[in-house]
Symmetry: C2
Subunit: 312 residues, 2 copies
């Protein structure tokens, strides 16, 4: 189906409609962490998440003999991914393939039935024009490369049974395909999120990471002028910028160094400004088992706003 036809169909009144959010980014860019807080906030009866890395065409053993890595579109069933995204967008269930990261094997597929909201995270959800047409909101996670490498070593050695030398070698091997296929998705995202330290500041090493949210005018972002007028610019501020490609973009800077209480006051103000009647979901900002990040909470809050807004 051409993407225009799909867009028109979805805009039609008689069609069941699923709000679709894409979270694209390189391996260990933080996609799962960002997703988890949103799923917990809305609850499994309203929101479903899936990872399109399950559409790998080859298992780990087979990839050893191939001239490309798992990041290459030819290493993935892109056409089937597009088909499944269209089906979910139209409210139909899919039988999704499953890639087991712990063993590197492709296993028994599983039924995914779309709920009101679907989050699709992975390496290549925004790779093609047709896949992009399936989403209401698109996000690209863009941490500084040295931070992503740290995250990847930590995760792959603890959860996926690799040694750190193996992970670093794999990162080097993947770099040309990251540049060719993963990073170009940044320019198609409505929101680009960068968690990292603030350049130029000499914060102590245990300072929580800050977040820079680049908000492209490709979707309508919430009006936070009320929050900024009342609040303290130390926790968060908005700047008009030109992106690397010259396009205008708003940059929302959320500072990790301010006391969490200040950020939390701001979160409540945003939540209320967004017209929410319920309490601020406690799952926002959760990092792993015990940690918490206020810039992550504010990022999730903004995405929650977009999800709820798109479902109206």
């Amino acid at each position: 189906m051409p993407d225009k036809e799909l867009r028109m169909k979805r805009a039609g009144t008689g069609t069941p409609r699923t709000v679709m959010l894409a979270i694209a980014g390189d391996s260990a860019a933080g996609k799962t962490t960002l997703t988890r807080g949103l799923v917990d906030a809305l609850g499994a009866d309203r929101i479903t998440s899936l990872c399109v890395d399950d559409y790998h065409r080859y298992d780990r053993q087979e990839r050893k003999g191939l001239p490309f890595t798992a990041l290459h579109p030819d290493c993935n069933y892109i056409q089937i991914m597009e088909q499944h995204l269209q089906l979910l967008a139209m409210g139909s269930p899919i039988l999704k393939p499953v890639y087991d990261h712990s063993t590197g094997e492709l296993t028994r597929p599983e039924l995914v039935e779309p709920t009101e909201f679907v989050i699709v995270e992975g390496l290549l959800p925004l790779h093609s024009k047709l896949s992009r047409a399936c989403f209401d909101i698109t996000v690209y996670l863009d941490p500084p490369e040295e931070i992503r490498r740290e995250w990847k070593v930590t995760r792959d050695t603890s959860k996926r049974g690799y040694g750190s030398d193996q992970v670093l070698a794999e990162l080097d091997k993947r770099e040309p395909e990251s540049a060719e296929f993963i990073r170009p998705q940044r320019s198609d995202a409505d929101i680009v999120v960068r968690f990292g330290p603030i350049e130029g500041r000499q914060d102590p090493p245990d300072t929580p990471l800050s977040a820079e949210l680049l908000l492209r005018p490709t979707i309508r972002h919430p009006d936070l002028t009320g929050v900024f007028a009342d609040g303290d610019r130390s926790a968060m501020h908005l700047t008009l910028l030109r992106d690397d490609d010259g396009r205008p973009i708003d940059a929302l800077h959320v500072h990790g160094y301010v006391p969490p209480e200040d950020s939390q006051t701001l979160e409540k103000a945003i939540w209320s400004e967004l017209g929410a009647e319920s309490d601020l979901p406690g799952s926002l900002g959760q990092l792993g088992e015990n940690g918490r990040s206020e810039p992550l909470a504010i990022t999730q809050l903004l995405l929650l706003y977009h999800l709820l807004e798109a479902s109206r």
Copy 2:
């Protein structure tokens, strides 16, 4: 998609079109044997076959705790089967689940890309209105029950690792669901095929099985009056009948007891009468490793006619 919409779409000129043949029938009714000769006749670049028993929702282990057998629609992803049949009919590839009959496990799915012709065989391809709407030609295999039981015991003990007592117990367990879900598909088939001995004749036990082909006027069958006028009625004849439900139907009787040479002469005459320019495909009539059945060859010839006719 409602089935009418699908039919209209497929009738449209701009749409890629796959000719779809369903071969439905109970376990060990002869579906794979019938399919194999057709696939070999047209070649893998023109024809693809798949088995919808791969859409089992539970593996063999899980089914042990369930109140129904693999024949029950609730034991299968019927909605996903319908979705995949629609996609194939529209010329799109699917990522088909795989059920391994030798281990009873659900394993890694496989890509199926539709070719000019697709044969879909299995227990329930004609179960729903939407699945039926996906086919150009529908066949139901209806051997006498005692013959099917023999075939099932032979196959399941030799190829699927069961003992014959287990197979007979399984047949008894499945009987209510055969009656409720499998056999009703007979009345939706364009062609009902029954391989078996001819009732009332005292042929020796090694006489090849005959075939009765019930041809419903739901599709246009070939005009074989030329063949019958020239030929010998001993090998084959056509009779006007009422089916069990009172609907008019043509019965083509193909006799297993005539010398193979007579049947083969008739096959060539039919093949030529059907306007074929190539030689009669040698794969028709193949039974397992070495055996051959002329009534099977004639059945496949008729289906080959319908496939080629539907692709015009």
